[in-house]
Protein backbone atom coordinates (compact mmCIF):
# COMPACT_ATOMS: atom_id res chain seq x y z
CA UNK A 1 0.00 0.00 0.00
CA UNK A 2 1.50 3.29 -1.05
CA UNK A 3 0.51 6.65 0.36
CA UNK A 4 -1.04 9.49 -1.59
CA UNK A 5 -0.13 13.13 -1.66
CA UNK A 6 -2.06 15.64 -3.72
CA UNK A 7 0.30 17.87 -5.62
CA UNK A 8 -2.13 19.66 -7.93
CA UNK A 9 -5.41 20.94 -6.50
CA UNK A 10 -8.53 19.59 -8.19
CA UNK A 11 -10.14 22.48 -10.11
CA UNK A 12 -13.02 24.37 -8.49
CA UNK A 13 -15.87 24.19 -11.01
CA UNK A 14 -19.32 25.69 -11.25
CA UNK A 15 -22.12 23.12 -10.93
CA UNK A 16 -23.24 21.36 -14.13
CA UNK A 17 -26.01 23.08 -16.03
CA UNK A 18 -29.33 21.37 -15.27
CA UNK A 19 -32.37 21.34 -17.44
CA UNK A 20 -34.41 24.37 -16.57
CA UNK A 21 -37.44 26.20 -17.89
CA UNK A 22 -41.19 25.80 -18.04
CA UNK A 23 -41.25 22.60 -20.12
CA UNK A 24 -38.83 20.93 -17.73
CA UNK A 25 -40.84 21.95 -14.67
CA UNK A 26 -44.07 20.79 -16.25
CA UNK A 27 -42.64 17.45 -17.25
CA UNK A 28 -40.90 16.71 -13.96
CA UNK A 29 -43.20 18.31 -11.41
CA UNK A 30 -46.67 18.14 -12.94
CA UNK A 31 -46.91 15.43 -15.56
CA UNK A 32 -44.42 13.09 -13.98
CA UNK A 33 -47.00 10.28 -13.77
CA UNK A 34 -50.38 9.38 -15.21
CA UNK A 35 -52.24 10.07 -11.97
CA UNK A 36 -50.35 13.33 -11.48
CA UNK A 37 -51.24 14.46 -14.97
CA UNK A 38 -54.94 13.63 -14.58
CA UNK A 39 -55.07 15.37 -11.20
CA UNK A 40 -53.32 18.44 -12.56
CA UNK A 41 -55.79 18.75 -15.41
CA UNK A 42 -58.78 18.16 -13.11
CA UNK A 43 -57.63 20.78 -10.63
CA UNK A 44 -56.90 23.28 -13.37
CA UNK A 45 -60.39 22.71 -14.79
CA UNK A 46 -61.99 23.17 -11.37
CA UNK A 47 -60.09 26.38 -10.76
CA UNK A 48 -60.96 27.72 -14.17
CA UNK A 49 -64.62 26.86 -13.74
CA UNK A 50 -64.78 28.52 -10.30
CA UNK A 51 -63.03 31.64 -11.50
CA UNK A 52 -65.22 31.83 -14.59
CA UNK A 53 -68.42 31.46 -12.58
CA UNK A 54 -67.45 34.33 -10.32
CA UNK A 55 -66.23 36.56 -13.13
CA UNK A 56 -69.36 35.87 -15.19
CA UNK A 57 -71.61 36.64 -12.22
CA UNK A 58 -69.71 39.71 -11.11
CA UNK A 59 -68.85 41.31 -14.44
CA UNK A 60 -70.61 39.96 -17.50
CA UNK A 61 -74.01 39.43 -15.94
CA UNK A 62 -73.48 42.08 -13.27
CA UNK A 63 -75.79 45.07 -13.14
CA UNK A 64 -73.72 48.24 -13.06
CA UNK A 65 -76.20 51.08 -13.02
CA UNK A 66 -79.78 50.98 -11.81
CA UNK A 67 -81.96 53.38 -9.88
CA UNK A 68 -83.50 50.57 -7.82
CA UNK A 69 -83.88 46.81 -7.55
CA UNK A 70 -85.80 46.24 -10.76
CA UNK A 71 -82.87 45.47 -13.05
CA UNK A 72 -81.23 43.33 -10.38
CA UNK A 73 -84.35 41.25 -10.12
CA UNK A 74 -84.42 40.53 -13.85
CA UNK A 75 -84.02 36.91 -15.00
CA UNK A 76 -80.31 35.97 -15.27
CA UNK A 77 -79.03 39.13 -13.65
CA UNK A 78 -75.68 38.87 -11.83
CA UNK A 79 -74.21 41.00 -9.10
CA UNK A 80 -76.25 44.03 -8.08
CA UNK A 81 -73.50 46.66 -7.84
CA UNK A 82 -75.74 49.75 -7.61
CA UNK A 83 -76.88 48.43 -4.21
CA UNK A 84 -73.28 48.62 -2.95
CA UNK A 85 -72.90 52.11 -4.31
CA UNK A 86 -76.10 53.29 -2.68
CA UNK A 87 -75.08 51.81 0.66
CA UNK A 88 -71.32 52.32 0.70
CA UNK A 89 -71.36 55.45 2.85
CA UNK A 90 -73.46 53.69 5.45
CA UNK A 91 -71.04 50.74 5.41
CA UNK A 92 -68.19 53.06 6.26
CA UNK A 93 -69.90 55.40 8.74
CA UNK A 94 -72.95 53.55 10.03
CA UNK A 95 -75.64 56.00 11.11
CA UNK A 96 -73.11 58.70 11.89
CA UNK A 97 -74.72 62.04 10.90
CA UNK A 98 -73.62 63.16 7.43
CA UNK A 99 -72.58 66.60 8.60
CA UNK A 100 -70.20 65.12 11.18
CA UNK A 101 -68.57 62.45 9.00
CA UNK A 102 -65.49 64.59 8.52
CA UNK A 103 -64.64 63.68 12.11
CA UNK A 104 -64.56 59.99 11.25
CA UNK A 105 -62.48 60.76 8.18
CA UNK A 106 -60.05 62.73 10.28
CA UNK A 107 -59.72 59.86 12.75
CA UNK A 108 -59.13 57.43 9.86
CA UNK A 109 -56.58 59.81 8.33
CA UNK A 110 -54.57 60.47 11.50
CA UNK A 111 -54.63 56.77 12.30
CA UNK A 112 -53.50 55.77 8.82
CA UNK A 113 -50.64 58.29 8.76
CA UNK A 114 -49.44 57.37 12.23
CA UNK A 115 -49.72 53.65 11.55
CA UNK A 116 -47.83 54.01 8.28
CA UNK A 117 -45.11 55.87 10.17
CA UNK A 118 -44.89 52.98 12.61
CA UNK A 119 -45.00 50.20 10.06
CA UNK A 120 -42.60 51.50 7.41
CA UNK A 121 -39.10 50.85 8.72
CA UNK A 122 -37.47 53.72 6.82
CA UNK A 123 -39.53 56.41 8.56
CA UNK A 124 -37.71 57.91 11.58
CA UNK A 125 -39.08 59.02 14.98
CA UNK A 126 -40.42 55.54 15.79
CA UNK A 127 -40.49 56.18 19.54
CA UNK A 128 -42.41 59.44 19.25
CA UNK A 129 -44.73 57.91 16.71
CA UNK A 130 -45.40 54.93 18.95
CA UNK A 131 -46.09 57.19 21.92
CA UNK A 132 -48.49 59.21 19.78
CA UNK A 133 -50.26 56.21 18.32
CA UNK A 134 -50.64 54.21 21.51
CA UNK A 135 -51.23 57.01 24.02
CA UNK A 136 -52.40 60.21 22.40
CA UNK A 137 -54.25 58.91 19.34
CA UNK A 138 -56.85 56.91 21.31
CA UNK A 139 -57.70 60.05 23.29
CA UNK A 140 -57.95 62.20 20.17
CA UNK A 141 -60.04 59.55 18.42
CA UNK A 142 -62.32 59.22 21.43
CA UNK A 143 -63.14 62.93 21.63
CA UNK A 144 -63.37 63.37 17.87
CA UNK A 145 -65.72 60.45 17.39
CA UNK A 146 -67.89 60.89 20.46
CA UNK A 147 -67.86 64.67 20.63
CA UNK A 148 -69.88 66.52 23.26
CA UNK A 149 -66.79 68.54 24.13
CA UNK A 150 -64.67 71.24 22.46
CA UNK A 151 -67.70 72.47 20.51
CA UNK A 152 -68.28 69.13 18.77
CA UNK A 153 -71.81 67.78 18.67
CA UNK A 154 -72.33 64.64 20.71
CA UNK A 155 -72.68 61.55 18.50
CA UNK A 156 -73.92 58.66 20.64
CA UNK A 157 -72.29 55.29 19.97
CA UNK A 158 -75.72 53.98 18.91
CA UNK A 159 -75.20 56.02 15.75
CA UNK A 160 -71.80 54.53 15.04
CA UNK A 161 -71.68 51.56 12.76
CA UNK A 162 -70.16 49.70 9.87
CA UNK A 163 -66.46 49.80 9.27
CA UNK A 164 -66.14 52.42 12.01
CA UNK A 165 -67.34 50.01 14.70
CA UNK A 166 -65.33 47.12 13.27
CA UNK A 167 -62.16 49.20 13.31
CA UNK A 168 -62.77 50.75 16.73
CA UNK A 169 -63.34 47.29 18.17
CA UNK A 170 -60.49 45.48 16.48
CA UNK A 171 -57.86 48.21 16.71
CA UNK A 172 -58.59 48.77 20.40
CA UNK A 173 -58.55 45.06 21.12
CA UNK A 174 -55.29 44.62 19.22
CA UNK A 175 -53.61 47.59 20.87
CA UNK A 176 -54.79 46.64 24.36
CA UNK A 177 -54.13 42.91 24.02
CA UNK A 178 -50.44 43.28 23.16
CA UNK A 179 -49.22 44.85 26.43
CA UNK A 180 -51.84 43.07 28.54
CA UNK A 181 -50.93 39.75 26.93
CA UNK A 182 -47.23 40.34 27.66
CA UNK A 183 -47.98 41.11 31.30
CA UNK A 184 -50.26 38.09 31.64
CA UNK A 185 -47.68 35.80 30.04
CA UNK A 186 -44.95 37.07 32.37
CA UNK A 187 -47.39 36.82 35.25
CA UNK A 188 -48.21 33.21 34.50
CA UNK A 189 -44.50 32.34 34.40
CA UNK A 190 -43.75 34.41 37.48
CA UNK A 191 -42.15 32.76 40.49
CA UNK A 192 -44.53 34.70 42.74
CA UNK A 193 -47.35 32.22 43.38
CA UNK A 194 -50.16 34.79 43.75
CA UNK A 195 -49.27 36.59 40.52
CA UNK A 196 -48.92 33.32 38.68
CA UNK A 197 -52.18 31.96 40.04
CA UNK A 198 -54.19 35.08 39.22
CA UNK A 199 -52.79 35.27 35.70
CA UNK A 200 -53.50 31.60 35.11
CA UNK A 201 -57.04 31.89 36.43
CA UNK A 202 -57.76 34.90 34.23
CA UNK A 203 -56.30 33.30 31.11
CA UNK A 204 -57.99 29.95 31.58
CA UNK A 205 -61.36 31.48 32.46
CA UNK A 206 -61.46 33.81 29.49
CA UNK A 207 -60.10 31.19 27.10
CA UNK A 208 -62.57 28.65 28.31
CA UNK A 209 -65.57 30.70 27.21
CA UNK A 210 -66.71 31.44 23.63
CA UNK A 211 -66.36 35.04 22.50
CA UNK A 212 -70.10 35.28 21.91
CA UNK A 213 -70.64 34.42 25.55
CA UNK A 214 -68.00 36.92 26.67
CA UNK A 215 -69.86 39.57 24.68
CA UNK A 216 -73.23 38.61 26.17
CA UNK A 217 -71.77 38.62 29.63
CA UNK A 218 -70.03 41.93 29.06
CA UNK A 219 -73.31 43.41 27.82
CA UNK A 220 -75.53 42.05 30.58
CA UNK A 221 -73.39 41.35 33.60
CA UNK A 222 -71.23 44.46 33.72
CA UNK A 223 -73.91 46.48 35.50
CA UNK A 224 -73.76 43.96 38.36
CA UNK A 225 -70.21 45.09 39.10
CA UNK A 226 -71.06 48.78 38.83
CA UNK A 227 -72.72 51.07 41.35
CA UNK A 228 -76.53 50.99 40.94
CA UNK A 229 -77.78 53.01 38.02
CA UNK A 230 -74.49 53.01 36.17
CA UNK A 231 -74.67 51.10 32.93
CA UNK A 232 -71.70 51.66 30.67
CA UNK A 233 -72.06 52.27 27.00
CA UNK A 234 -72.91 49.26 24.84
CA UNK A 235 -69.93 49.73 22.53
CA UNK A 236 -67.59 50.28 25.48
CA UNK A 237 -68.71 47.00 27.02
CA UNK A 238 -68.08 45.19 23.74
CA UNK A 239 -64.65 46.83 23.43
CA UNK A 240 -63.72 45.72 26.95
CA UNK A 241 -65.03 42.20 26.32
CA UNK A 242 -63.12 41.68 23.07
CA UNK A 243 -59.95 43.27 24.49
CA UNK A 244 -59.89 40.96 27.50
CA UNK A 245 -60.68 37.98 25.31
CA UNK A 246 -57.87 38.88 22.91
CA UNK A 247 -55.44 39.45 25.81
CA UNK A 248 -55.93 35.92 27.11
CA UNK A 249 -55.11 34.44 23.73
CA UNK A 250 -52.21 36.81 23.28
CA UNK A 251 -50.81 35.80 26.66
CA UNK A 252 -50.70 32.15 25.70
CA UNK A 253 -49.06 32.91 22.36
CA UNK A 254 -46.39 34.99 24.06
CA UNK A 255 -45.88 32.35 26.74
CA UNK A 256 -45.16 29.92 23.93
CA UNK A 257 -42.55 32.33 22.59
CA UNK A 258 -40.99 32.71 26.03
CA UNK A 259 -40.63 28.97 26.33
CA UNK A 260 -38.75 28.87 23.04
CA UNK A 261 -35.98 31.09 24.45
CA UNK A 262 -33.09 29.01 25.81
CA UNK A 263 -32.29 29.24 29.51
CA UNK A 264 -28.84 30.52 28.61
CA UNK A 265 -30.36 33.80 27.42
CA UNK A 266 -31.90 34.43 30.84
CA UNK A 267 -28.61 33.55 32.50
CA UNK A 268 -26.60 35.68 30.11
CA UNK A 269 -28.85 38.63 30.89
CA UNK A 270 -28.65 38.04 34.64
CA UNK A 271 -24.89 37.58 34.59
CA UNK A 272 -24.28 40.99 33.04
CA UNK A 273 -26.37 42.54 35.80
CA UNK A 274 -29.68 43.29 34.07
CA UNK A 275 -32.68 43.49 36.38
CA UNK A 276 -35.76 41.35 35.73
CA UNK A 277 -37.63 44.02 33.75
CA UNK A 278 -34.57 45.06 31.78
CA UNK A 279 -33.66 41.52 30.85
CA UNK A 280 -37.25 40.88 29.82
CA UNK A 281 -37.53 44.11 27.85
CA UNK A 282 -34.11 44.08 26.20
CA UNK A 283 -33.22 40.42 25.81
CA UNK A 284 -36.07 37.97 26.25
CA UNK A 285 -39.17 39.72 24.84
CA UNK A 286 -37.59 40.92 21.59
CA UNK A 287 -36.57 37.36 20.82
CA UNK A 288 -39.75 35.73 22.10
CA UNK A 289 -42.02 38.10 20.17
CA UNK A 290 -40.04 37.55 17.00
CA UNK A 291 -40.57 33.81 17.28
CA UNK A 292 -44.33 34.20 17.60
CA UNK A 293 -45.00 36.92 14.99
CA UNK A 294 -46.91 34.45 12.78
CA UNK A 295 -49.12 33.39 15.69
CA UNK A 296 -49.64 36.96 16.85
CA UNK A 297 -50.74 38.09 13.42
CA UNK A 298 -52.88 34.99 13.12
CA UNK A 299 -54.55 36.08 16.34
CA UNK A 300 -55.02 39.63 15.06
CA UNK A 301 -56.58 38.34 11.86
CA UNK A 302 -59.01 36.09 13.64
CA UNK A 303 -59.80 38.87 16.10
CA UNK A 304 -60.53 41.27 13.26
CA UNK A 305 -63.03 38.84 11.82
CA UNK A 306 -64.47 37.82 15.18
CA UNK A 307 -65.56 41.38 15.85
CA UNK A 308 -68.47 40.57 13.51
CA UNK A 309 -69.95 38.68 16.47
CA UNK A 310 -70.91 41.95 18.15
CA UNK A 311 -74.13 41.95 16.13
CA UNK A 312 -75.46 39.60 18.81
CA UNK A 313 -75.37 42.38 21.39
CA UNK A 314 -77.08 44.82 19.07
CA UNK A 315 -74.12 46.65 17.62
CA UNK A 316 -73.90 47.24 13.90
CA UNK A 317 -70.40 46.40 12.75
CA UNK A 318 -69.55 46.00 9.09
CA UNK A 319 -71.33 42.68 8.75
CA UNK A 320 -74.35 43.91 10.72
CA UNK A 321 -74.76 47.06 8.67
CA UNK A 322 -74.48 45.17 5.40
CA UNK A 323 -77.19 42.79 6.49
CA UNK A 324 -79.58 45.57 7.50
CA UNK A 325 -79.38 46.85 3.92
CA UNK A 326 -80.75 43.60 2.52
CA UNK A 327 -84.23 44.39 3.83
CA UNK A 328 -84.41 47.80 2.21
CA UNK A 329 -87.55 47.48 -0.02
CA UNK A 330 -85.85 49.66 -2.60
CA UNK A 331 -83.05 47.13 -3.11
CA UNK A 332 -84.27 43.73 -1.93
CA UNK A 333 -83.67 41.39 -4.83
CA UNK A 334 -82.48 37.87 -5.54
CA UNK A 335 -78.90 39.08 -5.98
CA UNK A 336 -78.72 41.78 -3.30
CA UNK A 337 -77.48 39.62 -0.45
CA UNK A 338 -75.09 37.71 -2.72
CA UNK A 339 -73.57 40.97 -3.86
CA UNK A 340 -73.40 42.34 -0.33
CA UNK A 341 -71.74 39.25 1.07
CA UNK A 342 -69.33 39.08 -1.84
CA UNK A 343 -68.25 42.71 -1.38
CA UNK A 344 -67.98 42.12 2.35
CA UNK A 345 -65.77 39.09 1.79
CA UNK A 346 -63.51 41.17 -0.44
CA UNK A 347 -63.25 43.91 2.20
CA UNK A 348 -62.46 41.50 5.05
CA UNK A 349 -60.04 39.62 2.85
CA UNK A 350 -58.22 42.82 1.86
CA UNK A 351 -57.67 43.77 5.52
CA UNK A 352 -56.58 40.31 6.58
CA UNK A 353 -54.38 39.69 3.58
CA UNK A 354 -52.61 43.02 4.19
CA UNK A 355 -51.94 42.01 7.79
CA UNK A 356 -50.62 38.66 6.64
CA UNK A 357 -48.32 40.17 4.02
CA UNK A 358 -47.03 42.76 6.45
CA UNK A 359 -46.22 40.07 9.00
CA UNK A 360 -44.25 38.13 6.39
CA UNK A 361 -42.37 41.29 5.50
CA UNK A 362 -41.46 41.91 9.14
CA UNK A 363 -40.45 38.29 9.64
CA UNK A 364 -38.07 38.51 6.70
CA UNK A 365 -36.71 41.83 7.86
CA UNK A 366 -36.01 40.62 11.40
CA UNK A 367 -34.63 37.35 10.18
CA UNK A 368 -31.83 38.66 7.97
CA UNK A 369 -29.73 39.39 11.01
CA UNK A 370 -29.06 35.70 11.56
CA UNK A 371 -28.14 34.70 8.07
CA UNK A 372 -24.49 34.19 7.33
Amino acid sequence: MTGFVRTIDAPKLSPPKGEVGLIHTLRHRVFNSAIGGVLAIAIAALLFWTAWTIIDWAFFRGVWTAPDRELCNAEGAGACWPFIKARSLQWVYGFYPSAERWRVNLVYLIGAISLAGLMIPAIPFKTWNALFFFLLYPVIAFFLLLGGKFGLTLVETEQWGGLLVTLVLSVTAIVVSAPLGILLALGRRSEMPIVSLLSTIFIETVRGVPLVLVLFMAANMFPLFMPPGVNPDKLLKAVIGTSLFASAYMAEIIRGGLQAIPKGQYEGAQAIGLSYWKSMGLIIMPQALKVVIPSIVNNFISLFKDTSLVTVVGLFDLLGIVQTGFNDPKWASAQTSNTGYFALAVIYWAFCFSMSRYSQFIERKLNTSHKR
Binding site: G264, G268, I272, L366, H370
Partner: protein, 245 residues
Protein backbone atom coordinates in the same frame (compact mmCIF):
# COMPACT_ATOMS: atom_id res chain seq x y z
CA UNK B 1 -1.84 41.28 51.88
CA UNK B 2 -4.54 41.67 49.21
CA UNK B 3 -8.15 41.45 50.36
CA UNK B 4 -10.44 38.59 49.43
CA UNK B 5 -12.29 38.81 46.13
CA UNK B 6 -14.52 35.84 46.89
CA UNK B 7 -15.03 34.06 50.18
CA UNK B 8 -17.16 30.94 50.51
CA UNK B 9 -17.51 29.44 53.95
CA UNK B 10 -19.39 26.25 54.77
CA UNK B 11 -21.53 26.54 51.67
CA UNK B 12 -24.09 23.81 51.12
CA UNK B 13 -26.57 23.44 48.31
CA UNK B 14 -29.19 20.89 47.40
CA UNK B 15 -31.10 20.20 44.21
CA UNK B 16 -34.24 18.76 45.77
CA UNK B 17 -32.92 15.92 47.95
CA UNK B 18 -29.57 15.80 46.10
CA UNK B 19 -26.70 17.35 48.05
CA UNK B 20 -24.81 19.03 45.20
CA UNK B 21 -22.38 21.23 47.14
CA UNK B 22 -21.05 19.97 50.45
CA UNK B 23 -19.26 22.22 52.93
CA UNK B 24 -17.44 24.35 50.39
CA UNK B 25 -14.74 26.59 51.85
CA UNK B 26 -12.85 28.74 49.43
CA UNK B 27 -11.05 32.02 49.72
CA UNK B 28 -9.95 33.75 46.54
CA UNK B 29 -7.59 36.72 46.89
CA UNK B 30 -7.82 39.64 44.51
CA UNK B 31 -5.70 38.88 41.46
CA UNK B 32 -5.64 35.16 42.12
CA UNK B 33 -6.22 32.69 39.28
CA UNK B 34 -8.04 29.52 40.24
CA UNK B 35 -8.72 26.53 38.03
CA UNK B 36 -11.46 24.14 39.12
CA UNK B 37 -11.54 20.67 37.66
CA UNK B 38 -13.27 17.43 38.42
CA UNK B 39 -15.47 14.77 36.87
CA UNK B 40 -18.82 15.60 35.31
CA UNK B 41 -21.50 16.16 37.94
CA UNK B 42 -19.00 16.99 40.66
CA UNK B 43 -20.57 20.41 41.29
CA UNK B 44 -17.85 22.65 39.80
CA UNK B 45 -20.23 24.61 37.57
CA UNK B 46 -22.72 24.89 40.39
CA UNK B 47 -19.99 26.25 42.63
CA UNK B 48 -19.03 29.13 40.37
CA UNK B 49 -22.66 29.79 39.46
CA UNK B 50 -23.35 30.36 43.16
CA UNK B 51 -20.82 33.19 43.11
CA UNK B 52 -23.06 35.39 40.91
CA UNK B 53 -26.26 33.87 42.22
CA UNK B 54 -27.29 32.06 39.07
CA UNK B 55 -27.75 29.32 41.63
CA UNK B 56 -28.89 29.94 45.16
CA UNK B 57 -27.04 28.28 48.01
CA UNK B 58 -29.02 27.20 51.03
CA UNK B 59 -26.44 27.22 53.81
CA UNK B 60 -23.21 29.02 54.54
CA UNK B 61 -21.93 32.42 53.46
CA UNK B 62 -20.65 33.77 50.20
CA UNK B 63 -19.07 37.21 50.17
CA UNK B 64 -18.04 38.77 46.87
CA UNK B 65 -15.87 41.89 46.94
CA UNK B 66 -17.13 42.64 50.43
CA UNK B 67 -20.81 42.21 49.51
CA UNK B 68 -22.60 39.32 51.23
CA UNK B 69 -24.83 37.30 48.90
CA UNK B 70 -28.17 37.09 50.60
CA UNK B 71 -31.76 37.15 49.41
CA UNK B 72 -31.35 40.95 49.30
CA UNK B 73 -31.95 41.78 45.63
CA UNK B 74 -29.81 44.89 45.77
CA UNK B 75 -26.82 42.88 46.95
CA UNK B 76 -27.36 40.39 44.14
CA UNK B 77 -27.46 43.20 41.59
CA UNK B 78 -24.34 44.75 43.09
CA UNK B 79 -22.47 41.44 42.99
CA UNK B 80 -23.46 40.78 39.39
CA UNK B 81 -22.07 44.15 38.36
CA UNK B 82 -18.69 43.20 39.77
CA UNK B 83 -18.61 39.63 38.48
CA UNK B 84 -18.29 38.79 34.80
CA UNK B 85 -19.23 35.37 33.51
CA UNK B 86 -18.34 33.39 30.40
CA UNK B 87 -20.51 30.39 29.61
CA UNK B 88 -19.88 27.13 27.83
CA UNK B 89 -22.45 28.01 25.18
CA UNK B 90 -21.51 31.71 24.99
CA UNK B 91 -25.07 32.93 25.63
CA UNK B 92 -24.62 35.93 23.38
CA UNK B 93 -27.79 37.78 22.47
CA UNK B 94 -28.55 36.73 18.88
CA UNK B 95 -30.81 39.70 18.10
CA UNK B 96 -28.09 42.26 18.88
CA UNK B 97 -24.87 43.01 17.07
CA UNK B 98 -21.53 42.18 18.64
CA UNK B 99 -21.09 45.80 19.63
CA UNK B 100 -24.61 46.02 21.06
CA UNK B 101 -23.98 42.85 23.05
CA UNK B 102 -20.98 44.57 24.58
CA UNK B 103 -22.55 47.96 25.26
CA UNK B 104 -25.94 46.79 26.55
CA UNK B 105 -25.01 46.33 30.20
CA UNK B 106 -22.69 49.36 30.46
CA UNK B 107 -25.48 51.55 29.05
CA UNK B 108 -28.45 50.06 30.94
CA UNK B 109 -26.78 48.99 34.17
CA UNK B 110 -23.80 51.31 34.57
CA UNK B 111 -25.64 54.20 32.86
CA UNK B 112 -22.65 55.02 30.67
CA UNK B 113 -23.23 57.38 27.76
CA UNK B 114 -23.58 55.42 24.50
CA UNK B 115 -20.48 56.90 22.86
CA UNK B 116 -18.30 56.10 25.83
CA UNK B 117 -19.70 52.57 26.11
CA UNK B 118 -19.00 51.97 22.44
CA UNK B 119 -15.49 53.31 22.66
CA UNK B 120 -14.85 51.10 25.68
CA UNK B 121 -16.39 48.08 23.94
CA UNK B 122 -14.23 48.61 20.86
CA UNK B 123 -11.11 48.65 23.00
CA UNK B 124 -12.10 45.30 24.55
CA UNK B 125 -12.99 43.88 21.14
CA UNK B 126 -9.50 44.88 20.04
CA UNK B 127 -8.10 43.14 23.07
CA UNK B 128 -9.86 39.89 22.12
CA UNK B 129 -8.74 40.54 18.52
CA UNK B 130 -12.09 40.88 16.72
CA UNK B 131 -12.79 44.63 16.38
CA UNK B 132 -13.61 44.08 12.70
CA UNK B 133 -16.64 41.92 13.65
CA UNK B 134 -18.26 44.63 15.78
CA UNK B 135 -21.24 45.23 13.49
CA UNK B 136 -21.97 41.58 12.73
CA UNK B 137 -24.50 39.43 14.55
CA UNK B 138 -23.34 36.54 16.76
CA UNK B 139 -24.87 34.02 14.35
CA UNK B 140 -22.42 35.15 11.69
CA UNK B 141 -19.34 34.33 13.79
CA UNK B 142 -17.48 31.09 14.47
CA UNK B 143 -17.65 29.49 17.91
CA UNK B 144 -14.23 30.76 18.90
CA UNK B 145 -15.10 34.27 17.80
CA UNK B 146 -18.40 34.14 19.70
CA UNK B 147 -16.66 33.06 22.86
CA UNK B 148 -14.17 35.91 22.53
CA UNK B 149 -17.10 38.32 22.12
CA UNK B 150 -18.60 36.81 25.27
CA UNK B 151 -15.37 37.53 27.11
CA UNK B 152 -15.32 41.09 25.79
CA UNK B 153 -18.96 41.54 26.80
CA UNK B 154 -18.15 40.52 30.36
CA UNK B 155 -15.05 42.74 30.45
CA UNK B 156 -17.04 45.78 29.33
CA UNK B 157 -18.58 45.95 32.81
CA UNK B 158 -15.05 46.27 34.26
CA UNK B 159 -15.64 43.32 36.59
CA UNK B 160 -13.45 42.63 39.59
CA UNK B 161 -13.87 38.87 39.20
CA UNK B 162 -14.28 36.77 36.06
CA UNK B 163 -15.98 33.37 36.12
CA UNK B 164 -15.39 30.92 33.28
CA UNK B 165 -17.72 27.93 33.05
CA UNK B 166 -16.06 25.44 30.69
CA UNK B 167 -15.38 28.16 28.12
CA UNK B 168 -13.73 25.88 25.57
CA UNK B 169 -15.85 22.73 25.93
CA UNK B 170 -18.28 23.59 23.14
CA UNK B 171 -15.60 24.67 20.68
CA UNK B 172 -14.12 22.89 17.69
CA UNK B 173 -10.53 21.85 18.44
CA UNK B 174 -8.94 24.42 16.14
CA UNK B 175 -10.71 27.26 17.96
CA UNK B 176 -9.75 26.40 21.52
CA UNK B 177 -6.37 28.09 21.33
CA UNK B 178 -7.69 31.50 20.28
CA UNK B 179 -9.95 31.55 23.34
CA UNK B 180 -7.27 30.28 25.71
CA UNK B 181 -4.86 32.92 24.38
CA UNK B 182 -7.33 35.62 25.38
CA UNK B 183 -7.74 34.05 28.81
CA UNK B 184 -3.99 33.86 29.31
CA UNK B 185 -3.69 37.50 28.31
CA UNK B 186 -6.37 38.36 30.83
CA UNK B 187 -4.69 36.34 33.57
CA UNK B 188 -1.39 38.05 32.90
CA UNK B 189 -3.18 41.38 33.19
CA UNK B 190 -3.94 40.57 36.82
CA UNK B 191 -7.65 39.72 36.59
CA UNK B 192 -9.11 37.63 39.40
CA UNK B 193 -10.31 34.50 37.65
CA UNK B 194 -12.15 31.31 38.54
CA UNK B 195 -12.13 28.88 35.65
CA UNK B 196 -13.91 25.58 35.41
CA UNK B 197 -11.95 23.88 32.66
CA UNK B 198 -10.28 20.67 31.62
CA UNK B 199 -7.48 22.51 29.80
CA UNK B 200 -4.67 21.33 32.01
CA UNK B 201 -2.02 23.11 29.98
CA UNK B 202 -3.85 26.35 30.73
CA UNK B 203 -3.97 25.44 34.42
CA UNK B 204 -0.23 24.79 34.47
CA UNK B 205 0.50 28.03 32.67
CA UNK B 206 -1.58 30.55 34.58
CA UNK B 207 -3.22 29.08 37.69
CA UNK B 208 -2.10 30.05 41.15
CA UNK B 209 -4.13 27.17 42.55
CA UNK B 210 -5.89 24.16 41.10
CA UNK B 211 -8.95 22.83 42.87
CA UNK B 212 -10.20 19.30 42.36
CA UNK B 213 -13.84 18.59 43.12
CA UNK B 214 -15.66 15.32 43.37
CA UNK B 215 -19.21 14.56 44.53
CA UNK B 216 -19.88 18.13 45.59
CA UNK B 217 -16.78 18.54 47.73
CA UNK B 218 -13.41 20.15 47.32
CA UNK B 219 -11.18 17.09 47.49
CA UNK B 220 -7.80 18.64 46.90
CA UNK B 221 -6.27 22.01 46.20
CA UNK B 222 -2.71 22.89 45.52
CA UNK B 223 -0.31 24.88 43.36
CA UNK B 224 -0.42 23.51 39.81
CA UNK B 225 3.15 22.18 39.84
CA UNK B 226 2.53 20.12 42.96
CA UNK B 227 -1.05 19.26 42.00
CA UNK B 228 -0.10 17.62 38.74
CA UNK B 229 3.22 16.11 39.82
CA UNK B 230 2.23 14.86 43.20
CA UNK B 231 -1.54 14.49 43.70
CA UNK B 232 -2.29 13.42 47.25
CA UNK B 233 -5.83 12.03 47.08
CA UNK B 234 -6.41 8.75 45.23
CA UNK B 235 -9.48 10.31 43.63
CA UNK B 236 -7.38 13.12 42.18
CA UNK B 237 -4.83 10.63 40.94
CA UNK B 238 -7.50 8.55 39.22
CA UNK B 239 -9.02 11.66 37.60
CA UNK B 240 -5.68 12.95 36.36
CA UNK B 241 -4.79 9.54 34.94
CA UNK B 242 -8.03 9.53 33.01
CA UNK B 243 -7.77 12.98 31.50
CA UNK B 244 -4.02 13.11 30.91
CA UNK B 245 -4.03 9.62 29.31
Amino acid sequence: MPHSAVTMSHVDKWYGPFHVLRDINLDVKAGERIVICGPSGSGKSTLIRCINRLEEHQQGDIVVDGIPLTANLKNIDDVRREVGMVFQHFNLFPHLTVLENCTLAPIWVRKQPKAQAEENAMSFLKRVKIPEQALKYPGQLSGGQQQRVAIARALCMNPKVMLFDEPTSALDPEMIKEVLDVMVDLAEGGMTMLCVTHEMAFARQVADRVIFMDQGQIVEENEPEEFFKNPKSPRTRLFLEQILH
